[in-house]
Every structure is written in C-alpha cells, then in structure tokens.
Symmetry: C2
Subunit: 160 residues, 2 copies
C-alpha cells in the first residue's frame, strides 16, 4: 500500500459551515449553492451523507476569509424552509492522502483513520475520490495529523 | 464555466451502506474500515458530514456484488457501540461532473444541483474533490441525470 499513497497534504486556511436538519427533498442543495455562487464565494469541499426522517445535513468548506459572507448569504434560507440550523467551525484543518488506485484500497482509509484514532484525533468530516481521501479535523491537530500520515505511509511531507 | 467541466460520468453498479447515529469519537471510523479492509472489500466513496449531539453518520459505497459481505463484516460493530443503525440502498447511481479548477466554482455545483432539482431528482449523497463533484441518486434516475448534465455542461456523454 505504500506504493499507492504518493503524498499527504494539509490545508489550514479554511472554515466549515454545516446546515443541519434541512429538508431532504429536491431543490434544497440547489438553493444553498446558488446563493453562495451568486455571492461569488469559492467552495472547496461539499459533503452530504445519507439523511433520515426526510432531513439531511450539508457541510461545505470555504476560505476562512469567506466564512462571514457565506453565513450572510445563507441566513434567510433556513427561515424559508422553516427547519434546520447552521453551525460554523472557523478553524479547521483538512488533511488528505493522495495517490492512484486509492479506490480499491479500503485499507488505506483504515490506516489513515487508525493513525488518527491512536492519537485521539476526532474525524469531523470525510470525503473521498478515486485519488484522494480527505479528513476534516480540528485545526490544532493539523500539523500532528500531517506528521502521522507522513509516518504511516512513509512519505516526504508536502505542502497543502 | 463550460470550459471547466470536461466530462460527466455515471456508475450504476454500486450500492450504498450507511451507519447512522454512531458515536462521534476517535476510533469509530477506523473500526468500520478496518473490518471492511480485513474482508477484502473494495470501497469507492466514503462520505461523512458533521455530526450533532456526539453522534454521526458514515456512508460508503461498494460494488453491488460486495454489499452482502460488507453488511456481514459490520453486523457486530453496532452491538459493540450500543448505538446506531445500518441502512442499505442496493441500487444507486453515482453521477459525476469532472473537470479542472472545479474547486473555485461553486457555480458548477449550483448548476448541477439545479438540473436535478428541476427534474425532481433527490440528491442522496454529495462528495467533491478539486476535480470532481459526485452525487448519489436513485439508480432509476441515473441515465436521465447523465443526460441532464450532458446538456447543462454542453458535453459528449462519457462512460462510467
Ligand atoms: C439535502 C439535499 O441534498 C436534497 N436531498 C436535495 O436534493 O437538494
Ligand atoms: C464518526 C467517526 O468518524 C468518528 N468521528 C471518528 O473519528 O472515528
């Protein structure tokens, strides 16, 4: 598996916004990101897991400098739906393991998550693609997490 | 924005498993994916949004043929934690828009989500990376969703 992960990265300049218990019906995600796009806000990660009881949570990350304007562009949307709440984590770290063929190796995810577990680092969000596994954690663990992945996968550290 | 999206893809051979209301503390994600890795199951998407009340939901997708063995490898984990439930959607479609520079264009996400909203297609999961936005929807909407994205982004359809 060492051959599969070619780099680990850390981003510490982003914030996370979550819209929790929003209606899980067509048009809701469109409304959220149309408003953000109209405000010209650059979005990095968008993560939504499966909902339950017809409610869901959408989380997304933006540059720290855009968090206030993101909140502002969304502040009326919850009133329209009559449900849900907004939470913000201003200081997050996004740690990622990058490599080819990741998809077929759940083992890489397990090693990454195990490394964080042993150090008591809670994983707040997860998103994967074929070439990348990204975890959102508390900003204060960012450097430590990068070092852990560097060791677990036997790599040179790379910049975010 | 047309220049940014270079392809749209559809995967219809996967299933989604969600572990809902599981403890949101270090070690939980590691336990889930260690078990799956030990069973030799290939994982595609892993998606976890922000939790609340110290509980969270982790969803992941596997090939349809691996869904029963995934359920089997996880069936005792919920008992250990004493909380949570497992839900399975055997027939899902994963529709993705692929291109460079996606990250800085929340507008692409908004157009994709708007296209689904207009056709009444509910978005069950979302995951993004710098070059890709993926949505899990009901399998029956897969072909239609691919066509919608093909039209919205003015592209030739590509295979999954
Ligand atoms: C929650 C949100 O994604 C909703 N399911 C939608 O389709 O817009
Ligand atoms: C929910 C799960 O990801 C948990 N937060 C963990 O760190 O393992």
């Amino acid at each position: 598996e060492k051959l599969l992960v070619t780099g680990v990265t850390l981003k510490s300049d982003e914030s996370r916004i979550s819209l929790t218990d929003i209606p899980d019906r067509p048009g809701v995600a469109a409304e959220v990101f149309s408003r953000l796009a109209e405000s010209g806000i650059n979005i990095d990660m968008i993560v939504q897991s499966t909902g339950q009881n017809k409610l869901n949570t959408i989380s997304f990350t933006v540059l720290r400098k855009d968090v206030e304007s993101s909140e502002k562009s969304l502040n009326t949307v919850l009133k329209i739906w009559g449900s849900g709440s907004m939470s913000v984590a201003k200081d997050i770290a996004i740690v990622s393991a990058v490599g080819v063929g990741m998809k077929s190796h759940g083992g890489i995810a397990a090693r990454m998550f195990n490394a964080f577990a042993k150090e008591g680092i809670n994983i707040e969000m997860i998103a994967t693609s074929e070439i990348k596994i990204s975890c959102v954690i508390d900003k204060e663990h960012g450097q430590k997490a990068l070092q852990l992945l560097h060791d677990v996968f036997g790599l040179e550290k790379t910049a975010g």
